[in-house]
Symmetry: C2
Subunit: 406 residues, 2 copies
């Protein structure tokens, strides 16, 4: 079989066109405007559970396996817009088997966390970033958008109501999962005439309960996660199921995650479901550089990615670092590694904040990412985790931390 042929100018025109044609129209189509049918937090009704769950021991928590007493749901229809928000006991969804979410993947989601500070206040971290991204994801698959502040208010009330599930220990939090699904129950392929926005919450422990454990990656070129003109920059369900098989295959060869490469140049894009950062010394100048791939339409716009970049610009640049969002290749990493210039590498995402990387399997070689044998994290990853947690848990007052009220 011959491969499809793609050239630079085609991709250039696809990228240009997608920003100039697709997005403005998608925004025009369904982005909210204040009118009847808008999401209205003041209309929230709360039905409390009559059988509160027992709390698990904090150290027994597994990511996303246990959920709190309640859930937040808001129905939407094309005719009436957003209906009144409800907090109810956590319960199953009852859906017709023809519902479009089961057939055509009308689904998108967010991942965010609620933290308990030393005063017992419940804090969210940059929730407006999650709201903006959920609106972009939703609009891209013809699902409705919403007024961001209203949903933050509703999520705050929900987090407050179930705050007893948030362990008050550093590293623990309550993972919040806002989810939007299409609920129209017909098999015709078209924009859903109804949808459900819901939020569930799961108490979670630290990603690395006994301290960092650096992971090893398999550089993956035989499967391609995202493409220019595709939807890899949106948090759609569609981007996840296709990545499981490559993940299983990497695992079968002893690697914890895929490092997604792109194109003949083998650009480094993302690691598993995290954004990728590397710290290198510039070959010519010796300048220390923190690198991550640019938001070119194939990279998820991670909130942690953005936070790491901001903190690095504010706090590492004065220490002599350069911070750069640019394309970089696997070859560049391999060379830097061989020449002792690859200082460290780490993934960045909501679940782990940072996830240090020991090595990358690439073309039969193992590219060493700069950790000594006894080390499980580089300095930057460790520093970032400390800076981020200080803000998330309210030890440092910062505009990124949002104190909820009930």
């Amino acid at each position: 079989m011959r491969p499809l042929l793609v050239s630079r100018s085609a991709l250039r025109s696809a990228t240009r066109a997608s920003s100039s044609r697709l997005l403005p129209l998608c925004q025009a189509a369904r982005f909210y405007s204040a009118k009847a049918g808008d999401l209205d937090a003041s209309k929230l009704s709360i039905t409390k559970t009559t059988s509160p769950k027992a709390l698990s021991k904090a150290e027994d928590l597994v990511f996303g396996r246990e959920f709190t007493d309640h859930m937040l749901t808001i129905e939407w229809t094309k005719e009436d817009g957003w209906k009144d928000p409800k907090i109810t006991p956590y319960q199953n969804l009852s859906l017709d088997p023809a519902t479009c979410v089961f057939h055509y993947a009308f689904e998108c989601f967010e991942g965010m966390k609620a933290y308990k500070d030393k005063q017992g206040q419940v804090r969210l971290f940059r929730p407006e970033k999650n709201m903006a991204r959920l609106n972009k994801s939703s609009a891209r698959i013809a699902l409705p958008t919403f007024e961001p502040k209203s949903l933050i208010e509703l999520i705050s009330k929900f987090a407050q109501l179930d705050s007893r599930f948030i362990p008050d220990k550093r590293g623990y939090s309550m993972y919040l999962r806002p989810t939007m699904i299409g609920t129209q129950k017909t098999l015709g392929v078209g924009p859903p005439g109804s949808a459900l926005l819901y939020v569930i919450a799961s108490p979670v422990g630290p990603y690395y309960p006994t301290g960092f454990k650096a992971i090893s990656l398999e550089a993956t070129d035989y499967a391609v996660r995202a493409w220019p003109g595709g939807v890899g920059d949106k948090k759609l369900g569609a981007n996840y199921a296709p990545c499981i098989l490559p993940q299983l295959q990497a695992a079968s060869r002893g690697f914890q995650q895929n490092l997604w490469l792109f194109g003949e140049e083998e650009y480094v894009t993302e690691v598993g479901t995290m954004n990728m950062f590397v710290a290198i010394k510039n070959k010519e100048t010796g300048q220390k550089e923190l690198l991550t791939a640019p938001l070119d339409g194939t990279i998820l716009e991670g909130v942690t990615r953005d936070s790491v970049l901001s903190l690095a610009r504010e706090r590492l640049v004065p220490q002599g670092w350069k911070v750069d969002e640019r394309k970089y290749t696997m070859k560049e990493l391999s060379e830097a590694s061989q020449e002792g210039r690859l200082l460290e590498a780490f993934g960045a995402g909501t679940a782990a904040i940072v996830s240090p990387i020991r090595s990358i399997s690439w073309k039969g070689d193992l590219v060493d990412c700069g950790l000594a044998k006894h080390e499980e994290s580089g300095e930057i990853a460790l520093q970032m985790k400390e800076w981020m947690e200080a803000i998330q848990y309210g030890d440092e007052e910062h505009e990124w931390s949002f104190v909820t009220s009930s």
Copy 2:
């Protein structure tokens, strides 16, 4: 923003790697072998409805909006394999809001039809093709596979039980929707430990109740449906939701469907959710050629596509036609049109069998696809529809038509 760069050799290696590495492993991982936990049609239990639905008038049927009295469901778990199949009254699915189908698009499906012949027998059309494709789709997203003959037997019994819903008129049928979803109720991203395979059925009328109506397409390059190393050749939910917005935008400019182009060369790939065929006269030789894009990993392996190709090779080649699966470009179509060599174009899929195309909007021009003003179909599309229906409705005895028994 700079585009990502992809070159021929990268795509070649991705294509080679995906066939040599990904698929064998995926087959090894979960393709069925006869043992405990296999899908066993003999264990079917049937619970009939106590409130049979009234039949709608045949002429009021809308595709995929009404469903029959019953549904077929089979649960699967990693531990026990396939459980006993059940036919029950049509009913809602009750699923935990954390179920992985809602978050990570663990879902794939098939589209097939049951036809009533003149003797009142219920016939399926090449069901083994749908079973093979569903197994490929399912394996690609780490869902379980199954013994194809068992599911054909179960679907046959289901179609028999609800056969009163199949109108016995030419052009009418019962659309069958086998669907597989992941049902694990945790938020960790990994292979689902449980799944549900279900089949629902919807009586449907002819796609063109008053005769063919040729459609017009918008050649689409700003959004990309499928790419090498992706999953565009599988019938996954993930391939559908991202196509709705481009479809709405084409509609807003007066075009019924997108014609998906790929790459700088603007290869013609698919039309909406159908495969694409064109009939042209060769520029040098005058030879009449029926063309469709090859199965290179970016094209859905349509059952109708395969049937059209087979019938063309059997029945058109002796009439002097050449039949070719090869890449062809929008430029090639435009030139053929200008020189009067574009004889006709049509989409091919289960819903419409064939869907004639009048014109294609491309770079500000309208490429005429060869129909005279008063014509709604070319000869080949019309001929194909007649040949296919003769087999589907059992007027012509053919190995493709499968007579069900209860």
